[in-house]
Amino acid sequence: MALVALHEVSLAYGDQPVLVDVSLAVERGRILTVVGPNGAGKSSLLKVALGLVPADRGRVERGAAVVGYVPQRLTVERTLPLSVRRFLDMAVPGRVSPAALEAVLDRVRAGHVLARQVADLSGGELQRVMMARALLRRPDLLVLDEPVGGVDMVGQAELYDLIAGVAREQGAGVLMVSHDLHVVMAATDEVMCLNRHVCCAGHPESVSRHPEYLALFGPRVAESLAVYTHDHDHVHLADGTVDGHGHGRGCRHG
């Protein structure tokens, strides 16, 4: 059974359609990234998948026992005194050992914030702490709504590496919304291009050549992506050699 599966799900706010016949499935160890313009229904799709918003039509199945969620935005009222330590501790029933808290913050490179108040964190720090909180739950399924928003460039790459690691090593499924098209194309197993309906979905390279995708993001963005994905269908090993280069459909050499 998939960790989460949507079958022809439709959703409308009033008479405004938000999602039209959207289907998807996230399997164990796989990363599905949803891209699309503003107002395409990406966040709503995640909320339907999480069961936070009931679908008007269609079926939602959740096989995941434990879900880790990173919302697009988190605003902690300044009136609420809440340390990062406490915020993390709330993620799971019972107490979390100080060592486990330190370890998870190290994984997201935010080891220094444990004693700070959540309301005092910068946008990037809060994003890392929210990721740490989701990881602390040892999730079967990670649902991430623009998980690197507000994080600096180096940090973004690190966080995407971390997400990929969680999928590969811990076998978690990842359902993620992202605006960082470049990184998405390189780090995901499957891309879904959403504009209320599913424009196209599949392997990153095939999606990046799909006419609807090109129409949505424009040829300039799409072209730079095509080059990028071509460059990165192989892996650079530590000694500089290239490993695992499969000649995919988009590969124009050799």
Partner: protein
């Protein structure tokens, strides 16, 4: 030599102090949630509706506090169900219910020609009129209410941070919210006799606001709010006795003074 008048005065003060301190302790944790979750107007709405409860109590020939509690609970349940709809902003809904209920209460009072009701007493409270029964109810009932709050404390704090996150993590968010709203309704009903309809919310909001700067966890803030509330009750009753001022407003003035002092003091940040 102790005269009868002195002894009566002493008992008045002891009763007032026992009732006021109990209420301050009970109101503190609820006041924190009122501040965190921006429920001040919700509290005000319940307080305004409480006048209707007075009418229900007097007209129905039952205990007035019981009538107030019943009406406050009914209004809280009504507001909890309306929140799901969301076709109007919540403060608009609260505005309609608050002032609609207050106006209805005043009109109904005027229609009850045969019954004399001390309107000023209900609007501004009359702590010197509480009896031992009231004190027992505040401490026992209040203890039960704080116990119930403790049972939903974890989900309530989680949903105060973020409601979606709390739901994903399996907290019974809707139940916790309903429990909080009903308990706040009961706190308002209990506080009304002491500080009155127009000042009830202040007993929830001001001690919690004064406590904020001295707390680094939600629980610390609840304890600090209890201390601030108790100091306000003590100071207010002393001032009321010393300067012969109305007790309810005196307690609120003391609370405001404490809040101002807390803002001037160095906090824990």
């Amino acid at each position: 030599m102790v005269t009868d008048a002195d002894a009566a005065m002493d008992e008045f003060l002891v009763l007032a102090l026992a009732a006021g301190l109990g209420l301050a302790l009970v109101a503190a944790p609820f006041g924190c949630f009122v501040v965190w979750r921006r429920m001040a107007y919700f509290g005000d709405t319940l307080a305004h509706a409480a006048l209707l409860g007075v009418v229900v109590g007097v007209a129905g020939g039952i205990d007035v506090t019981l009538g107030v509690a019943a009406v406050c609970l009914a209004v809280a349940a009504l507001l909890a169900s309306v929140r799901q709809g969301r076709s109007l902003a919540s403060d608009t809904v609260l505005g309609i219910v608050a002032h609609g209920a207050l106006a209805m209460g005043l009109v109904a009072l005027a229609l009850m020609e045969t019954v004399q009701v001390n309107l000023m007493g209900w609007l501004f409270g009359d702590i010197l009129a509480v009896g031992w029964g009231d004190v027992a109810m505040i401490w026992l009932g209040g203890g039960v209410m704080v116990g119930l709050l403790a049972m939903v404390w974890r989900p309530l704090v989680a949903m105060t941070v973020d409601e979606d996150l709390a739901r994903v993590e399996g907290h019974a968010v809707a139940r916790a919210r309903l429990v909080l709203m009903l308990l706040v309704a009961l706190v308002v009903a209990a506080a009304m006799k002491i500080v009155g309809i127009l000042l009830v919310t202040s007993l929830l909001v001001i001690p919690a606001a004064a406590a904020r700067r001295f707390a680094r966890t939600p629980e610390q803030m609840a304890v600090a709010a209890a201390v601030a509330g108790a100091m306000a009750v003590g100071g207010g009753l002393w001032g009321s006795w010393r300067f012969d001022t109305p007790s309810g407003p005196s307690i609120v003035v003391a609370a405001v003074a404490l809040f101002a002092l807390s803002q001037a003091m160095p906090g824990r940040r």
